[in-house]
Structures are given as C-alpha cells and as structure tokens.
C-alpha cells in the first residue's frame, strides 16, 4: 500500500518570538525548528502501519525552504521510505488552501491509500490543510484521530470531540486522517535508521498551487496586550506579608 504523510516544520514553542518587519508573521531569526507535534503522531502511525502490513511505501512530504530537510530527515529516520520537499521559501506566508492545493497537486495521480496529516500546525493552527486536501482529492477525511486500526482495507479510527467525548468511525481506503495528541507516542529514531535515512531519496519539487490564489490578508500580528498580569512575591515570609499589605493598599480598595 502507498501512504503519504504530510509534515510541517515549525518553531519550537519555547523560542523567543519576535514579530517580523512586515508585521504579519513572526520573525524567523533566533528560532529553533522542529517537526510539528501533531505531524509526529502522523509519521509514527504510518510507520506502525507499515510494520503491521509489511508491504507499504511511505512518502513524507514537507513544504518550505531547504532547512525543512532537517525535519524531513527525522521522519525518514523514524521509518518513512522517501521524502518530497516542495521547495517554497514563501511557505510561511501561504494560506491553508494554497498549501492544500500543492499537496493535492502532488498526490492526485499517486493513488495513496492513506494520507496522514497532523490535525493542525503548532504555529498557524488553522486545522484546514488536511480536510481541504481530502476535498480536493475527493476522498473522505476523518479529523482529530486518537486511535487507529487497519485490517485488510478497513480503517477504524477513534476521534476526539469537544468536551472529551469520543467517536468511533469506520471507513475504507483511500482516506485522509488528521492526527491528534494521544494517538501514539512517537518513537526515538535508532542510530542505524538515522544512518540509513541519510541515503534515502529526497526529491525537491517546485511549488505549484495549480492556480489556487490567496484570498486572505493578515491585517495585524501582535502579542496579546498585557492586562493585569499576576505578580509573584518572593522573599522571607515576614517581608511577604508586608509587601502584600502594601500592594493591597496601593492597587485595591479591599483595605480601605
């Protein structure tokens, strides 16, 4: 069977974020990059499926500048068979529909049985790309899966819904699944697999949205305003009490 896994390289969320010059996205300097968390679940599930069925070919796809290859190597080391990079230095500016169009454009004649994606990206968080790819390819999509089983073409997944309720969905291939936290624990690549990954095929394609154009514009991009943030008092207990009284006097009316 043929499986496609779509991944995205995102900044580590512990990074020091700054707003870029145009004021419409974050600045890319001083950031550490990694695989989008939800995409790691997608890769892991695909590799487990291959381990189950034996005969499967795993293609990992990533859109972005050359630095995304580093993240793709991790997916290859985890067990994907080949990589496809859509080399696009403007990927971070793209709308979900453009990204979806690029993926669908690549996948349309490849007959993938299952496409795994993350349920959303950690940076843009639109949660739209997966479902739009399925729509464009005219295949079913099941989102936010936290459980997966495969048996001879029959796919059974568990979805996580609002309020903690769960749903069990059965479907058949081809299908697109977007993966949620709780689906699995991604593996740590073994050294022989890291070595092998260095020699795996990694194609780079030119970006092609197939005529789909942007239709949104980011009007502003900003950190939330600091409104009445909390204060943590530190020091000796006796001083703390005095400080607290002072604060209550200055900032509130409770002692008035």
């Amino acid at each position: 069977m043929k499986i496609l896994i779509c991944i995205k390289q995102v900044p580590d969320m512990e990074s020091k974020f700054k707003i870029n010059g145009e004021g419409n996205w974050y600045d890319r300097t001083d950031l550490a990059w990694r695989m989008n968390e939800y995409d790691e679940y997608a890769v892991e599930q695909a590799v487990r499926l291959k381990e189950q069925v034996g005969d499967a070919d795993l293609t990992v796809l990533c859109i972005g500048p050359d630095q995304v290859k580093e993240t793709m190597k991790k997916a290859l080391a985890m067990g994907c068979d080949r990589g496809v990079q859509i080399g696009d230095n403007d990927a971070h500016k793209r709308e979900p529909i453009e990204i979806a169009a690029m993926i669908a454009g690549f996948a349309k004649d490849k007959n993938f049985d299952i496409i795994f994606t993350g349920m959303q990206s950690q940076d843009r968080g639109s949660a739209q790309v997966g479902v739009m790819v399925a729509e464009m390819l005219a295949i079913p999509a099941v989102t936010t899966i936290v459980g997966f089983s495969f048996d001879n073409g029959a796919v059974k997944v568990k979805r996580e819904l609002e309020g903690g309720s769960k749903a069990l969905v059965s479907t058949t291939t081809p299908v697109l699944l977007t993966c949620q936290l709780g689906l699995n624990t991604p593996r740590y690549p073994t050294l022989p697999n890291i070595m092998k990954a260095k020699k795996k095929e990694l194609l780079t394609l030119a970006p092609d949205t197939g005529g789909v154009c942007a239709s949104q514009e980011t009007a502003a991009f900003y950190f939330p305003e600091r409104k009445g943030s909390g204060i943590v008092l530190e020091g000796d207990v006796s001083d703390l009490a005095d400080k607290l009284i002072q604060l209550l006097k200055e900032k509130t009316g409770v002692l008035a």
Binding site: D12, S15, K16, D30, A32, R34, T185, R187, Y188, T190
Partner: protein, 666 residues
C-alpha cells in the same frame, strides 16, 4: 648445638617420597593449567582490547595491590583480615619454597644448606607466627561469613570449600610440626623458636614416639595432598581470584578516570552499537567477572542499591560472568534487567573501591548504548523528551536556545561573538544558564571573577549542552553531535582557558572531548577560585559559618579534587563538619549518569538520603560544587522537610557573600 632441622624427617628423602610428591605436583599443575585455558577460551569471546601499554606502571600497580594489599586494605575489618591472611600465607608459601629449594636443589646438588643458625631461628619463628595469624584471620573471616553474616554477602559452596581447605592446610601444618617437635625438639632451646609448634608438641607427647611417627607421616601426606588440591582447584573455585584479581591490577583501566570509549560513528559498516550480548563486550569485561570475589564493597556503596533499587554492581558483573560461561548467546540486557541498567548514576563508588580493579560503569553504559541507539529505549518518556529538547534547543530543559545568555545581560558579560578578547571562557552549562537556582551560582562566580579583575566571556546562545548526560544515558550519537559543535565553536574563538561551574561539563571537556582533537585547558571553578585567592588576586574576608561539604562524584572520585574546595571553605571562615561518607567515599546526589533527566521512581530517594546525612552533621549549610547536586539538594531539603535547618549552597555563593575590598588592579 646447630640450629636446624632434618628436612623430610620421618618421611624420608628417597625416591618413594620424591617421585609421588613431584608426580602429584605435576598433576595438580596440569589441572590448574587446563582449568585456566578453559576459562581463557571464554574470555576470548569478548571484543579485542589492548591493556599492555605503560607496562612499568601496570607492573607497579600489580605489585602494590597484590604484595602491599593496598586496595584490599582500604576497608578495615574484613579487608584487614584478608591482608593479614594473605601476608601470612604468602610467608608460609615462601617458607615452604625455601625448604624445597634447600632439600631438593642446593643441598642435593651442591651440598649447600642455608636453613641453619640464626637464619633458621628467624625462619622458624616467622613461619610459626605466620601460621598462627593465618589461622586467626581465617577464623575471623569464617565467623564473619557464617555467624555474623553481613547483609548482602553472598555465600556459595565455593566459600565452604575454600575456608575448609585453607584451615585444614594450616592445622595439619601445625600438627605435623608438633609431632616432629614432640619427637626431636622438646626440651631443646630450638623449640622456643616455634612457639605454636611447641604448644602443639606438648599436646601430642602422650602418643609416644611410635604413635607420633605414624601420625606425622600420615599428616605429612595429607598436608601435601591438601596443598596440591588447593593449587589444582584455583581456576575452578573463587580461589581463581588469586590469579585473576592480581592480573586485573595489571590490566586495569589507566584512565583518564571515567572517560568512556568513543564509538566511531563515521564507520558505516558498523551495524550494532552497544552491548546486548556478552560477545559485544570486551574480553576484559568477561575477565572482570572472574576477578570478582563477591566482596560486595561496590554493592555497599552503590547509591542505587542502598536505596532499594534493583541494581547491584556486583550482581551485574557476575551475571555477565554467568552467561559468558553458560550461555553466551543469552540476551545480556534481559539478564541484567532494564531497571538495573537505568538505575546507575555513574558515581564510580563501585569502581573506585573495587579491590579487583573491575570496571563496572563502562559495562552499564554499553548496555545503555544498545538500548538507546539500537532500540530507541529510555528509562522513561521524560528522558526521551529531554533528548529531543536537547536536539532542538541544545539543553535538556527545553528552554529556547536564544535565551541561554540572558542571565548575564545585566552583569556586563558579553558573548565571545561580540568580544573574543577574554582571559577565560566561562562554559556555563545548561543548569547555570536556565535554572533559576543555578543562575544565582553563575552570577556569584562572575561577581568573584570581576572582583579579581578576570575578564570573562561566555558563548551565550552559541553554547549548547556539553552532551554529558546524554552520553552517560547511552546516547552517543547526540553526545557526539553536541561535542563536535561545541569544539568547533570554542576553537573558532581561539580560547586559551575554559572555566566551568559544572563538574560534568568539566569532566567531559577535559577528558571525553580529547578524543576529538580538543586540547584547551579546562579548570573547574573551585580550583580557579582557589588559585585566584592564593595568588592574591581575589580577597575574601573570613566570616564564620557552620557547614558540611558534599564531594560531587565528578570533582571527587572522577578527578580527585578534594582539597581545593576545602581550602575555599577555610578561606571563607567555614567550620566544616564532614559527613561520614566524604571524599572518595562520598554518596552520590542521584543526578549523575544522565539521571538528572529521569524520574526516580524506585525505592527511597537518593537525594533525601544524602540530605539526611548532611543534617546529621548539625551544620546549617550544605555546600556543593555542582549544579546537579545543588538541584537535588534543593529538592532534597524539601523532601526531607529540613528547609529551615539546612541551606544548600554552591561554594561560589559562599565566597561571593564574603568579598573583601580588592587590591587595586595593576
């Protein structure tokens, strides 16, 4: 009268004595050699390793640890008894050899007798007393093993055979002597030179000469057979340690202490990393099992074992031996057990005290390497997360890498990227860069340097973890990735000297990095500060305080730095009360061996146990020299509920609190 005695008295010196005697000796030696060869075949299952360099030093180690019993002697009690027994038995062996040398060689061929006169008197009394001491020591050890039964001491059938045989050899020796003296020496001045023999002789006189002669001849042959049996069974019982532990003193790892072997990751033909079978280990690792005497000194000092975790260094060594000799294809990791493998803090207490020069830590690391590099396994998910965070941000805490130098912003310390003209590079380490408690240590250290007029630079956001916790956890790949990057960065700035506040960074930079063409001088902060003070660059005003001091494993046992930190405490006016386990016997804080990244879920908490030892000194402050220790102690004082009694602090903080007015810089 001539002070001497007739050798082969009563048994005769003819063919009927010598032929069976030397015949049996030949048999015993053959059995011995065959037994050794059989075991050597098993040692050879291991991977090659050269331990024949620095032969002079190796020979000295061998002679010291065998003849002087230096390592055995380190633990009073059983160690003292063993040493005294060894020396006595060794003297008896020399004595017997002298007899053989005279009777069957110098006298036989050249008519030369040297066992006479004053020398014979001395010979007689020394051997007599040696026999007595040997019996007393052996008796003491017997009582210890079979009546006192110290906790954790493994007693096997070997021990009964060994104790019984040695005792029988010694007792028959005295009986033979007594029988002979009862007939030939009673009431002569010579008898006084064999006091124990004299007592035995007096007890036997009632047998009459005929009875004594029969008894003597019978016991003589029995004694001979026992002695030859002893020689023959050496390789088949724990007696083998006479050969193997001695050889191990020669074969010991000559350091640098605690440096691990570097895997060649460039070699693409390597398909297996670490050890999952004994055949993946080196031959010395299998040999170590044969050198082990089950003395349990390692186990008694192991922070994991003594807090109820499923790791005994002694067991690990013997499990390796057991499967090497019975089923070398068995899975080593399953045999030892994952929980045992992960529990090690690499504190080196086991290896340091081992009288048989056994290398425990590297074996555990090899098994960890296999688990991590071949299976992607870790002791827990939190460790895997720490590894991933280190890959992304260069620190196991998962903090954004770009903020690494933020702590120094207000101190006027800049990164080398901005100004590389510095006297020393301060390699800060992950904890002092990101952990609030340890940032205070970094700031104190910088304050001291600035007071002494030392221009310090840091790498700031270019610094990453040195890789030590990852390496000790088995992740050689991540370690090497980090090491290569750090070496390139540091060398790129032409740094002359590096100072660390983390002993793990220190040990790694100064030893492990040497495998990658890195030769820059690295100094731990306690030594650096001690030098600043002794050269008069830094002035500290002594203000009395009470404290105890924790020797971190990586400054202590790994680098023998015990005095510099104590000098600093004295300089600061500290009244130091040592914990019972100090210096090379110090008890680990729990965070070494990459355990800083792992939860401690089994048994009692090591850090709390150590904090309680500190509380027992009655001191107000627990001084440390390591960010991992400090972190564990801050946690430990909370866990032991002694926050109000005991403050953990780094030595740099104690000094920074006592800065005196500094001399004008020249």
């Amino acid at each position: 009268m001539e002070f001497t005695r007739e050798i082969y008295w009563n048994v005769g010196h003819g063919f009927t004595t010598l032929a069976p005697m030397y015949g049996l000796l030949l048999v015993a030696l053959t059995v011995l050699v065959l037994g050794c060869l059989k075991r050597i075949k098993v040692y050879r299952l291991g991977q090659p390793l050269d331990r024949t360099d620095q032969r002079g030093l190796r020979m000295r180690n061998l002679l010291e640890s065998v003849l002087l019993q230096t390592k055995v002697f380190r633990v009073p009690g059983a160690g003292t008894a063993h040493a005294l027994f060894f020396w006595s038995f060794f003297i008896l062996m020399i004595g017997t050899s002298l007899i053989v040398a005279q009777a069957d060689f110098t006298d036989l061929f050249f008519g030369v007798k040297f066992l006479k006169g004053t020398f014979y008197k001395l010979f007689s009394v020394v051997l007599d007393l040696a026999g007595l001491i040997a019996i007393l020591m052996l008796g003491g050890l017997l009582v210890r093993r079979y009546l006192i039964r110290p906790e954790g001491l493994l007693t096997k059938s070997d021990d009964a055979v060994m104790h019984g045989l040695l005792l029988a050899i010694l007792v028959t020796g005295f009986l033979i002597e007594g029988a002979r003296m009862a007939v030939t020496e009673l009431n002569t001045p010579l008898a006084l030179w064999s006091p124990v023999g004299l007592v035995t002789a007096k007890m036997l006189t009632s047998l009459g000469e005929g009875g004594l002669r029969t008894l003597h001849a019978g016991l003589w042959w029995l004694h001979l057979l026992l002695a030859l049996a002893f020689i023959a069974i050496i390789p088949y019982t724990k007696f083998r340690h006479i050969l193997t532990s001695s050889a191990n003193a020669y074969l010991a790892d000559l350091g640098p202490t605690g440096k691990l072997t570097t895997i060649n990751l460039e070699d693409e033909t390597t398909e297996k990393f670490g050890a999952s079978e004994v055949t993946d280990l080196r031959w010395k690792d299998i040999f170590d099992a044969d050198a082990c005497t089950l003395c349990k000194r390692c186990q008694d000092r192991c922070p994991a074992y003594t807090t109820g975790k499923p790791l005994s260094p002694m067991q690990v060594i013997n499990q390796i031996g057991e499967i090497s000799f019975t089923n070398p294809a068995a899975n080593l990791i399953d045999t030892v057990g994952r929980e045992a493998i992960w529990a090690c803090t690499t504190c080196r207490a086991c290896q340091d005290i081992c009288p048989a020069s056994i290398e425990h830590v590297s074996k555990i690391i090899e098994m960890r390497r296999n688990l991590v590099l071949m299976e992607g396994e870790f002791p827990g998910e939190e460790v895997m997360t720490a590894m991933e965070q280190t890959e992304v941000n260069g620190n196991p805490l998962g903090m954004g890498y770009a903020a690494r130098g933020d702590w120094a912003e207000a101190l006027g310390i800049t990164a080398l990227a901005e100004d590389a003209e510095v006297e020393v590079l301060y390699f800060v380490g992950c904890y002092a860069s990101f952990d609030k408690r340890n940032i205070a240590v970094a700031k104190s250290f910088v304050k001291l340097c600035q007071a002494a007029g030392v221009k310090v630079g840091i790498l700031g956001k270019e610094e990453k973890c040195c890789g030590e916790p990852m390496r000790k956890m088995g992740n050689e790949y991540l370690y090497q990735t980090l090491a290569m990057e750090m070496i390139e960065t540091i060398k790129g700035y032409g740094v002359k000297k590096i100072v660390t506040t983390c002993p793990h960074c220190f040990n790694t930079l100064t030893k492990d990095y040497r495998d990658f063409d890195f030769a820059i001088e690295v100094v731990p902060h306690v030594v650096f500060l001690d030098e600043l003070i002794t050269t008069g660059r830094l002035r500290i005003k002594a203000e009395p305080f009470s404290c105890t001091y924790h020797d971190s494993c990586y400054l202590g046992r790994h680098n023998n730095l015990y005095e510099a930190p104590r000098n600093l405490i004295r300089t600061a006016g500290g009244n130091l009360t040592e914990m019972a386990q100090n210096r090379d016997q110090a008890f680990c804080c729990s965070a070494g061996g990459g355990r800083i990244m792992a939860e401690e879920n089994l048994g009692e908490r090591i850090n709390i146990k150590r904090v309680r030892m500190a509380v027992d000194t009655g001191a107000d402050q627990l001084l440390a020299n390591c960010p991992f220790c400090l972190t564990m102690f801050e946690d430990g004082v909370k866990g032991a509920d002694v926050e109000a009694q005991l403050r953990p602090k780094d030595l740099a903080e104690i000094l920074a609190e006592r800065l005196a007015e500094q001399p004008q810089s020249v």
